[in-house]
Protein backbone atom coordinates (compact mmCIF):
# COMPACT_ATOMS: atom_id res chain seq x y z
CA UNK A 1 0.00 0.00 0.00
CA UNK A 2 1.26 3.47 -0.88
CA UNK A 3 1.02 5.30 2.37
CA UNK A 4 4.40 6.94 2.74
CA UNK A 5 4.39 10.56 3.67
CA UNK A 6 6.22 12.74 1.21
CA UNK A 7 7.58 16.05 2.50
CA UNK A 8 7.78 18.51 -0.38
CA UNK A 9 10.04 21.50 0.30
CA UNK A 10 8.20 24.76 -0.29
CA UNK A 11 9.74 27.73 -2.02
CA UNK A 12 9.82 31.03 -0.12
CA UNK A 13 7.19 32.25 -2.62
CA UNK A 14 4.80 29.51 -1.53
CA UNK A 15 5.15 30.59 2.07
CA UNK A 16 3.32 33.82 1.37
CA UNK A 17 0.67 32.20 -0.85
CA UNK A 18 -2.67 31.30 0.70
CA UNK A 19 -2.71 27.97 2.46
CA UNK A 20 -5.63 26.71 0.45
CA UNK A 21 -7.55 28.10 -2.49
CA UNK A 22 -9.92 26.32 -4.79
CA UNK A 23 -12.43 27.36 -7.44
CA UNK A 24 -15.41 25.11 -8.02
CA UNK A 25 -17.66 27.06 -10.40
CA UNK A 26 -17.57 30.36 -12.26
CA UNK A 27 -20.56 32.68 -11.93
CA UNK A 28 -21.69 31.69 -15.43
CA UNK A 29 -21.38 27.97 -14.66
CA UNK A 30 -23.38 28.38 -11.46
CA UNK A 31 -26.10 30.32 -13.31
CA UNK A 32 -26.38 27.62 -15.96
CA UNK A 33 -26.48 24.91 -13.32
CA UNK A 34 -29.07 26.60 -11.12
CA UNK A 35 -31.28 28.21 -13.78
CA UNK A 36 -30.89 25.93 -16.80
CA UNK A 37 -33.01 27.17 -19.70
CA UNK A 38 -33.97 30.45 -17.99
CA UNK A 39 -32.91 33.92 -19.02
CA UNK A 40 -31.41 35.80 -16.09
CA UNK A 41 -31.65 39.59 -15.99
CA UNK A 42 -29.04 41.49 -14.06
CA UNK A 43 -30.59 43.58 -11.30
CA UNK A 44 -27.76 44.91 -9.16
CA UNK A 45 -28.59 47.25 -6.30
CA UNK A 46 -26.73 49.33 -3.76
CA UNK A 47 -28.33 48.94 -0.37
CA UNK A 48 -29.23 52.20 1.37
CA UNK A 49 -28.11 52.77 4.98
CA UNK A 50 -31.75 52.30 6.05
CA UNK A 51 -31.98 48.96 4.21
CA UNK A 52 -28.69 47.81 5.71
CA UNK A 53 -29.92 48.65 9.17
CA UNK A 54 -33.22 46.82 8.58
CA UNK A 55 -31.41 43.72 7.23
CA UNK A 56 -28.98 43.68 10.14
CA UNK A 57 -31.76 44.02 12.65
CA UNK A 58 -33.90 41.31 10.97
CA UNK A 59 -31.12 38.76 10.40
CA UNK A 60 -28.78 39.54 13.28
CA UNK A 61 -25.92 39.46 10.76
CA UNK A 62 -23.75 42.42 9.81
CA UNK A 63 -23.90 43.65 6.21
CA UNK A 64 -20.26 44.11 5.18
CA UNK A 65 -20.93 45.08 1.56
CA UNK A 66 -23.76 47.38 0.41
CA UNK A 67 -23.48 46.04 -3.15
CA UNK A 68 -26.20 43.45 -3.84
CA UNK A 69 -25.37 41.32 -6.87
CA UNK A 70 -28.67 39.76 -7.95
CA UNK A 71 -30.20 38.46 -11.18
CA UNK A 72 -33.90 37.68 -11.67
CA UNK A 73 -35.35 34.94 -13.83
CA UNK A 74 -38.66 35.15 -15.72
CA UNK A 75 -40.56 33.10 -13.13
CA UNK A 76 -39.91 35.22 -10.04
CA UNK A 77 -36.77 33.38 -8.93
CA UNK A 78 -33.48 35.06 -8.04
CA UNK A 79 -29.81 34.23 -8.41
CA UNK A 80 -27.78 36.06 -5.77
CA UNK A 81 -24.00 36.20 -5.47
CA UNK A 82 -22.52 36.76 -2.06
CA UNK A 83 -19.27 36.46 -0.14
CA UNK A 84 -18.47 35.76 3.48
CA UNK A 85 -15.29 36.35 5.41
CA UNK A 86 -14.48 34.17 8.40
CA UNK A 87 -11.53 34.14 10.73
CA UNK A 88 -9.32 32.36 8.19
CA UNK A 89 -11.54 31.90 5.16
CA UNK A 90 -13.02 33.92 2.35
CA UNK A 91 -15.86 32.25 0.43
CA UNK A 92 -17.78 33.31 -2.69
CA UNK A 93 -21.08 31.50 -3.09
CA UNK A 94 -24.33 31.69 -5.04
CA UNK A 95 -27.88 31.11 -3.90
CA UNK A 96 -30.91 30.31 -6.06
CA UNK A 97 -34.17 31.56 -4.53
CA UNK A 98 -37.53 30.36 -5.82
CA UNK A 99 -40.49 32.69 -6.44
CA UNK A 100 -41.43 32.43 -2.75
CA UNK A 101 -37.98 33.44 -1.57
CA UNK A 102 -37.01 29.95 -0.37
CA UNK A 103 -33.48 28.68 -0.97
CA UNK A 104 -33.70 26.20 -3.83
CA UNK A 105 -29.96 25.62 -4.22
CA UNK A 106 -26.66 26.84 -2.84
CA UNK A 107 -23.29 26.38 -4.49
CA UNK A 108 -19.91 27.46 -3.19
CA UNK A 109 -18.04 29.09 -6.09
CA UNK A 110 -14.64 29.38 -4.50
CA UNK A 111 -12.94 28.99 -1.16
CA UNK A 112 -9.77 30.72 0.01
CA UNK A 113 -8.14 30.03 3.29
CA UNK A 114 -5.05 31.37 4.94
CA UNK A 115 -3.11 30.41 8.03
CA UNK A 116 -2.59 33.98 9.03
CA UNK A 117 -4.71 37.09 9.22
CA UNK A 118 -4.37 37.94 5.50
CA UNK A 119 -7.98 37.00 4.89
CA UNK A 120 -9.09 40.33 6.33
CA UNK A 121 -6.76 42.39 4.13
CA UNK A 122 -8.45 43.87 1.06
CA UNK A 123 -5.27 43.35 -0.98
CA UNK A 124 -5.20 39.66 -0.13
CA UNK A 125 -8.83 39.24 -1.15
CA UNK A 126 -8.44 41.31 -4.32
CA UNK A 127 -6.12 38.73 -5.84
CA UNK A 128 -9.10 36.35 -6.15
CA UNK A 129 -11.48 38.79 -7.83
CA UNK A 130 -11.99 37.90 -11.45
CA UNK A 131 -10.27 34.54 -11.14
CA UNK A 132 -11.75 32.02 -13.50
CA UNK A 133 -12.03 28.29 -13.41
CA UNK A 134 -8.67 26.77 -14.21
CA UNK A 135 -6.67 29.81 -13.16
CA UNK A 136 -7.06 29.31 -9.44
CA UNK A 137 -4.16 29.32 -7.11
CA UNK A 138 -3.25 25.85 -6.00
CA UNK A 139 -1.14 24.35 -3.33
CA UNK A 140 1.12 22.62 -5.76
CA UNK A 141 0.05 21.63 -9.27
CA UNK A 142 -1.79 18.36 -9.01
CA UNK A 143 -2.60 18.47 -5.32
CA UNK A 144 -6.29 19.22 -5.25
CA UNK A 145 -7.22 18.09 -1.77
CA UNK A 146 -6.22 18.96 1.71
CA UNK A 147 -6.85 16.95 4.85
CA UNK A 148 -6.55 18.82 8.10
CA UNK A 149 -8.50 20.65 10.70
CA UNK A 150 -12.05 21.04 9.49
CA UNK A 151 -12.67 23.85 7.02
CA UNK A 152 -15.12 26.35 8.37
CA UNK A 153 -18.53 27.09 6.83
CA UNK A 154 -20.40 28.70 9.72
CA UNK A 155 -20.26 32.09 8.05
CA UNK A 156 -22.07 30.77 4.97
CA UNK A 157 -25.02 29.86 7.20
CA UNK A 158 -25.00 33.43 8.55
CA UNK A 159 -24.66 34.79 5.03
CA UNK A 160 -27.74 32.88 3.85
CA UNK A 161 -29.74 34.25 6.79
CA UNK A 162 -28.66 37.76 5.80
CA UNK A 163 -29.63 37.12 2.15
CA UNK A 164 -33.07 35.84 3.12
CA UNK A 165 -33.66 39.07 5.04
CA UNK A 166 -32.32 41.01 2.05
CA UNK A 167 -34.79 39.21 -0.20
CA UNK A 168 -37.74 39.92 2.08
CA UNK A 169 -36.87 43.54 2.79
CA UNK A 170 -35.41 44.64 -0.54
CA UNK A 171 -36.01 42.32 -3.51
CA UNK A 172 -39.53 41.11 -2.70
CA UNK A 173 -40.57 44.45 -1.22
CA UNK A 174 -39.73 46.24 -4.47
CA UNK A 175 -42.14 44.02 -6.40
CA UNK A 176 -45.22 44.83 -4.33
Amino acid sequence: MKARLLLIPLSPLALVAPAYAVTYLTVEQAQTLMFEGSVLTRDFRVLTPEQIQAIESDSGVKVANPQLNAWRDGAGGWFVLDQVIGKHEFINYAVALDANGAVRQLEILDYHESYGGEVHLPAWRRQFVGKHHGSQLQLNGDIKNISGATLSCGHVTDGVRRLLSTYALVLAAAEH
Binding site: Y24, D142, G148
Partner: protein, 299 residues
Protein backbone atom coordinates in the same frame (compact mmCIF):
# COMPACT_ATOMS: atom_id res chain seq x y z
CA UNK B 1 5.30 10.99 -9.32
CA UNK B 2 1.87 10.82 -10.87
CA UNK B 3 0.69 13.17 -13.56
CA UNK B 4 -2.48 15.23 -13.56
CA UNK B 5 -5.70 13.56 -14.57
CA UNK B 6 -6.20 13.50 -18.35
CA UNK B 7 -9.97 13.14 -17.82
CA UNK B 8 -12.24 16.17 -17.54
CA UNK B 9 -13.28 16.76 -13.97
CA UNK B 10 -16.22 18.59 -12.43
CA UNK B 11 -16.14 19.66 -8.81
CA UNK B 12 -18.78 21.35 -6.66
CA UNK B 13 -18.97 22.26 -2.99
CA UNK B 14 -21.68 22.96 -0.44
CA UNK B 15 -21.77 23.80 3.25
CA UNK B 16 -22.83 20.56 4.98
CA UNK B 17 -21.93 18.74 8.20
CA UNK B 18 -20.64 22.04 9.59
CA UNK B 19 -17.92 22.20 6.97
CA UNK B 20 -17.32 22.58 3.25
CA UNK B 21 -18.10 19.35 1.41
CA UNK B 22 -16.58 19.05 -2.08
CA UNK B 23 -17.39 16.34 -4.61
CA UNK B 24 -15.20 15.91 -7.68
CA UNK B 25 -16.17 13.55 -10.51
CA UNK B 26 -13.82 12.66 -13.35
CA UNK B 27 -14.36 11.19 -16.79
CA UNK B 28 -18.16 11.49 -16.94
CA UNK B 29 -20.27 13.60 -19.28
CA UNK B 30 -21.22 16.90 -17.59
CA UNK B 31 -24.92 16.08 -17.21
CA UNK B 32 -24.18 12.65 -15.69
CA UNK B 33 -21.50 14.16 -13.46
CA UNK B 34 -23.81 16.90 -12.12
CA UNK B 35 -26.61 14.39 -11.54
CA UNK B 36 -24.23 12.11 -9.59
CA UNK B 37 -22.87 15.06 -7.58
CA UNK B 38 -26.45 16.03 -6.62
CA UNK B 39 -27.06 12.48 -5.38
CA UNK B 40 -23.83 12.54 -3.40
CA UNK B 41 -24.80 15.85 -1.73
CA UNK B 42 -28.27 14.45 -1.01
CA UNK B 43 -26.70 11.41 0.68
CA UNK B 44 -24.53 13.63 2.87
CA UNK B 45 -27.43 15.94 3.67
CA UNK B 46 -29.47 12.93 4.84
CA UNK B 47 -26.74 11.90 7.28
CA UNK B 48 -26.44 15.52 8.46
CA UNK B 49 -30.18 15.63 9.21
CA UNK B 50 -30.19 12.25 10.96
CA UNK B 51 -27.10 12.71 13.11
CA UNK B 52 -26.88 16.40 13.96
CA UNK B 53 -26.44 17.00 17.69
CA UNK B 54 -28.08 20.42 17.42
CA UNK B 55 -31.11 19.89 15.20
CA UNK B 56 -34.18 19.03 17.22
CA UNK B 57 -35.61 16.57 14.74
CA UNK B 58 -32.47 14.46 14.24
CA UNK B 59 -32.26 10.86 15.44
CA UNK B 60 -29.44 11.94 17.76
CA UNK B 61 -31.61 14.63 19.38
CA UNK B 62 -34.53 12.21 19.75
CA UNK B 63 -32.27 9.63 21.41
CA UNK B 64 -30.75 12.21 23.75
CA UNK B 65 -34.23 13.34 24.81
CA UNK B 66 -36.04 10.02 25.00
CA UNK B 67 -33.82 6.92 24.92
CA UNK B 68 -33.20 6.90 28.67
CA UNK B 69 -36.96 6.64 29.22
CA UNK B 70 -38.04 4.26 26.44
CA UNK B 71 -36.43 2.59 23.42
CA UNK B 72 -36.16 4.89 20.40
CA UNK B 73 -36.39 3.50 16.86
CA UNK B 74 -33.82 5.13 14.58
CA UNK B 75 -33.11 5.22 10.85
CA UNK B 76 -31.02 2.32 9.48
CA UNK B 77 -28.11 4.71 8.83
CA UNK B 78 -28.13 5.97 12.42
CA UNK B 79 -28.31 2.42 13.70
CA UNK B 80 -25.36 1.41 11.50
CA UNK B 81 -23.25 4.32 12.76
CA UNK B 82 -24.16 3.46 16.36
CA UNK B 83 -23.14 -0.14 15.65
CA UNK B 84 -19.76 1.04 14.27
CA UNK B 85 -19.34 3.31 17.28
CA UNK B 86 -20.11 0.42 19.65
CA UNK B 87 -17.64 -1.86 17.88
CA UNK B 88 -14.88 0.73 17.95
CA UNK B 89 -15.61 1.53 21.58
CA UNK B 90 -15.27 -2.15 22.51
CA UNK B 91 -12.11 -2.70 20.46
CA UNK B 92 -10.50 0.46 21.87
CA UNK B 93 -11.74 -0.27 25.38
CA UNK B 94 -13.51 3.06 25.51
CA UNK B 95 -10.87 5.33 23.94
CA UNK B 96 -13.51 5.97 21.30
CA UNK B 97 -16.83 6.61 23.01
CA UNK B 98 -19.93 8.29 21.53
CA UNK B 99 -21.38 9.09 24.96
CA UNK B 100 -19.07 12.11 25.34
CA UNK B 101 -21.75 14.66 24.29
CA UNK B 102 -22.16 16.03 27.79
CA UNK B 103 -18.41 16.76 28.05
CA UNK B 104 -18.51 18.81 24.85
CA UNK B 105 -21.54 20.67 26.18
CA UNK B 106 -19.71 21.33 29.45
CA UNK B 107 -16.78 22.77 27.48
CA UNK B 108 -19.09 24.90 25.34
CA UNK B 109 -18.20 23.12 22.08
CA UNK B 110 -21.82 21.97 21.68
CA UNK B 111 -25.03 23.59 22.91
CA UNK B 112 -27.07 21.60 25.46
CA UNK B 113 -29.70 19.58 23.59
CA UNK B 114 -32.41 20.25 26.18
CA UNK B 115 -32.94 21.81 29.54
CA UNK B 116 -32.27 18.74 31.67
CA UNK B 117 -29.23 18.71 33.95
CA UNK B 118 -25.92 17.41 32.56
CA UNK B 119 -25.88 13.60 32.56
CA UNK B 120 -23.83 11.71 35.17
CA UNK B 121 -20.15 12.04 34.14
CA UNK B 122 -19.57 8.32 34.73
CA UNK B 123 -21.77 7.23 31.79
CA UNK B 124 -20.04 5.37 28.96
CA UNK B 125 -20.72 3.49 25.74
CA UNK B 126 -21.68 0.51 27.91
CA UNK B 127 -24.87 2.40 28.82
CA UNK B 128 -26.00 2.41 25.19
CA UNK B 129 -28.02 -0.68 24.23
CA UNK B 130 -28.67 -1.53 20.60
CA UNK B 131 -31.71 -3.79 20.38
CA UNK B 132 -33.55 -5.52 17.58
CA UNK B 133 -35.59 -3.60 14.99
CA UNK B 134 -33.21 -0.60 15.19
CA UNK B 135 -34.17 0.23 18.73
CA UNK B 136 -31.79 2.18 20.97
CA UNK B 137 -32.05 2.33 24.73
CA UNK B 138 -29.87 4.23 27.25
CA UNK B 139 -29.50 2.53 30.63
CA UNK B 140 -28.85 5.95 32.16
CA UNK B 141 -29.48 9.48 30.86
CA UNK B 142 -26.65 10.40 28.49
CA UNK B 143 -25.96 12.56 25.45
CA UNK B 144 -24.64 10.77 22.41
CA UNK B 145 -22.52 12.78 19.97
CA UNK B 146 -21.70 11.11 16.65
CA UNK B 147 -19.48 14.00 15.54
CA UNK B 148 -16.41 11.75 15.73
CA UNK B 149 -17.68 9.24 13.20
CA UNK B 150 -20.74 10.48 11.25
CA UNK B 151 -18.74 12.67 8.88
CA UNK B 152 -16.72 9.66 7.76
CA UNK B 153 -19.90 7.62 7.34
CA UNK B 154 -21.45 10.46 5.30
CA UNK B 155 -18.43 10.43 2.97
CA UNK B 156 -18.89 6.65 2.52
CA UNK B 157 -22.59 7.17 1.70
CA UNK B 158 -21.71 9.83 -0.88
CA UNK B 159 -19.21 7.44 -2.47
CA UNK B 160 -21.92 4.75 -2.57
CA UNK B 161 -24.26 7.23 -4.28
CA UNK B 162 -21.61 8.04 -6.89
CA UNK B 163 -21.03 4.30 -7.49
CA UNK B 164 -24.78 3.80 -7.94
CA UNK B 165 -24.74 6.51 -10.64
CA UNK B 166 -22.04 4.62 -12.53
CA UNK B 167 -19.23 7.02 -11.61
CA UNK B 168 -15.85 5.31 -11.71
CA UNK B 169 -13.48 8.04 -10.68
CA UNK B 170 -14.22 10.59 -7.96
CA UNK B 171 -13.23 12.19 -4.69
CA UNK B 172 -15.52 13.23 -1.84
CA UNK B 173 -13.93 15.59 0.68
CA UNK B 174 -15.91 16.65 3.75
CA UNK B 175 -13.66 19.29 5.23
CA UNK B 176 -10.62 17.01 5.24
CA UNK B 177 -12.32 13.63 5.73
CA UNK B 178 -12.21 12.21 2.26
CA UNK B 179 -12.40 9.11 0.10
CA UNK B 180 -11.46 8.47 -3.50
CA UNK B 181 -12.73 5.95 -6.01
CA UNK B 182 -11.12 4.85 -9.24
CA UNK B 183 -7.80 3.74 -10.58
CA UNK B 184 -6.25 7.16 -10.36
CA UNK B 185 -4.15 8.15 -7.37
CA UNK B 186 -4.86 11.44 -5.63
CA UNK B 187 -2.20 13.51 -3.94
CA UNK B 188 -3.45 14.94 -0.70
CA UNK B 189 -1.75 17.63 1.37
CA UNK B 190 -1.88 17.06 5.11
CA UNK B 191 -2.26 19.98 7.42
CA UNK B 192 -1.16 19.72 11.03
CA UNK B 193 -1.89 22.29 13.70
CA UNK B 194 1.69 23.16 14.49
CA UNK B 195 3.64 21.81 11.53
CA UNK B 196 6.62 23.70 10.09
CA UNK B 197 5.70 25.79 7.08
CA UNK B 198 8.79 25.05 4.99
CA UNK B 199 7.59 21.62 3.81
CA UNK B 200 4.27 20.38 2.48
CA UNK B 201 3.47 16.87 3.72
CA UNK B 202 1.58 14.88 1.08
CA UNK B 203 0.18 11.40 0.66
CA UNK B 204 -0.84 9.52 -2.45
CA UNK B 205 -4.01 7.54 -2.07
CA UNK B 206 -6.00 5.45 -4.48
CA UNK B 207 -9.43 4.03 -3.76
CA UNK B 208 -9.05 4.66 -0.04
CA UNK B 209 -10.19 7.01 2.70
CA UNK B 210 -8.22 9.55 4.70
CA UNK B 211 -9.36 11.46 7.77
CA UNK B 212 -7.54 14.01 9.89
CA UNK B 213 -8.26 15.15 13.43
CA UNK B 214 -6.43 17.70 15.46
CA UNK B 215 -6.71 18.13 19.20
CA UNK B 216 -6.63 21.90 18.71
CA UNK B 217 -9.80 21.99 16.56
CA UNK B 218 -12.31 24.45 18.00
CA UNK B 219 -10.02 24.81 21.00
CA UNK B 220 -10.86 27.11 23.88
CA UNK B 221 -10.08 27.50 27.56
CA UNK B 222 -12.27 25.71 30.07
CA UNK B 223 -11.55 25.93 33.80
CA UNK B 224 -8.02 27.14 33.03
CA UNK B 225 -7.19 24.29 30.63
CA UNK B 226 -6.98 24.39 26.86
CA UNK B 227 -9.56 21.99 25.45
CA UNK B 228 -10.48 21.10 21.85
CA UNK B 229 -13.44 19.31 20.34
CA UNK B 230 -11.93 15.87 20.99
CA UNK B 231 -12.31 13.97 24.24
CA UNK B 232 -10.67 10.77 25.38
CA UNK B 233 -13.59 8.42 25.90
CA UNK B 234 -11.69 6.71 28.69
CA UNK B 235 -10.36 9.61 30.77
CA UNK B 236 -12.90 12.25 29.66
CA UNK B 237 -9.97 14.65 29.36
CA UNK B 238 -9.26 16.87 26.36
CA UNK B 239 -6.94 15.25 23.84
CA UNK B 240 -3.52 16.82 23.29
CA UNK B 241 -4.14 20.07 21.45
CA UNK B 242 -0.67 20.00 19.83
CA UNK B 243 -1.10 16.67 18.04
CA UNK B 244 -2.62 16.09 14.60
CA UNK B 245 -3.52 12.59 13.35
CA UNK B 246 -4.29 11.50 9.79
CA UNK B 247 -5.53 7.94 9.24
CA UNK B 248 -5.71 6.04 5.97
CA UNK B 249 -8.22 3.20 5.82
CA UNK B 250 -10.54 1.45 3.37
CA UNK B 251 -13.65 3.23 4.65
CA UNK B 252 -13.92 6.80 5.81
CA UNK B 253 -16.07 5.84 8.81
CA UNK B 254 -13.12 3.80 10.12
CA UNK B 255 -10.52 6.43 9.25
CA UNK B 256 -12.58 9.14 10.98
CA UNK B 257 -13.12 7.18 14.20
CA UNK B 258 -9.55 5.86 14.37
CA UNK B 259 -8.11 9.38 14.31
CA UNK B 260 -9.67 9.87 17.76
CA UNK B 261 -8.30 6.57 19.06
CA UNK B 262 -4.77 7.45 17.89
CA UNK B 263 -5.08 10.97 19.35
CA UNK B 264 -6.08 9.43 22.68
CA UNK B 265 -3.40 6.72 22.92
CA UNK B 266 -0.96 5.85 20.12
CA UNK B 267 0.21 2.57 21.65
CA UNK B 268 -3.30 1.32 22.36
CA UNK B 269 -4.40 2.31 18.86
CA UNK B 270 -1.81 0.13 17.13
CA UNK B 271 -3.78 -3.17 17.25
CA UNK B 272 -6.83 -1.39 15.86
CA UNK B 273 -4.82 0.12 13.02
CA UNK B 274 -3.55 -3.38 12.19
CA UNK B 275 -7.01 -4.89 12.47
CA UNK B 276 -8.46 -2.42 9.95
CA UNK B 277 -5.32 -2.39 7.72
CA UNK B 278 -5.05 1.29 8.49
CA UNK B 279 -2.03 3.59 8.70
CA UNK B 280 -1.73 6.70 10.84
CA UNK B 281 0.51 9.71 10.33
CA UNK B 282 0.89 11.56 13.58
CA UNK B 283 2.35 15.03 13.91
CA UNK B 284 3.67 16.50 17.13
CA UNK B 285 5.80 19.68 17.09
CA UNK B 286 8.23 18.27 19.68
CA UNK B 287 9.18 15.27 17.59
CA UNK B 288 12.55 15.52 15.84
CA UNK B 289 12.79 16.31 12.15
CA UNK B 290 9.58 17.62 10.76
CA UNK B 291 7.56 16.12 13.59
CA UNK B 292 5.81 13.29 11.73
CA UNK B 293 5.62 9.64 12.76
CA UNK B 294 4.03 6.74 10.93
CA UNK B 295 2.03 4.14 12.82
CA UNK B 296 0.44 0.88 11.85
CA UNK B 297 2.11 0.08 8.52
CA UNK B 298 2.79 -3.62 8.21
CA UNK B 299 6.41 -4.49 7.51
Amino acid sequence: MLSCSPLPSIERARPLLGTVVAVRVRGAAPRAAHCAIERAFAAISEIHQLMSFQENTSDVSRMNREAAHAPVTVHPHTFRVLAWAARLAQLSEGLFDASIGSKLVEWGVLAAPHADALPDPSVSFRDIELGSARQVFFKRPLWVDLGGIAKGYAVDRAVAALHACGIRSACVNAGGDLRTIGAEAERIALRAAEAPRDVLPTLEIQGRALATSCGASASRFHAGNRVGCHVSGRTRQALDTHTTVSVLAARCVIADALTKVVLADEAAALPLLHRFHAVAHVHHPDRPGHGWRELGARQ
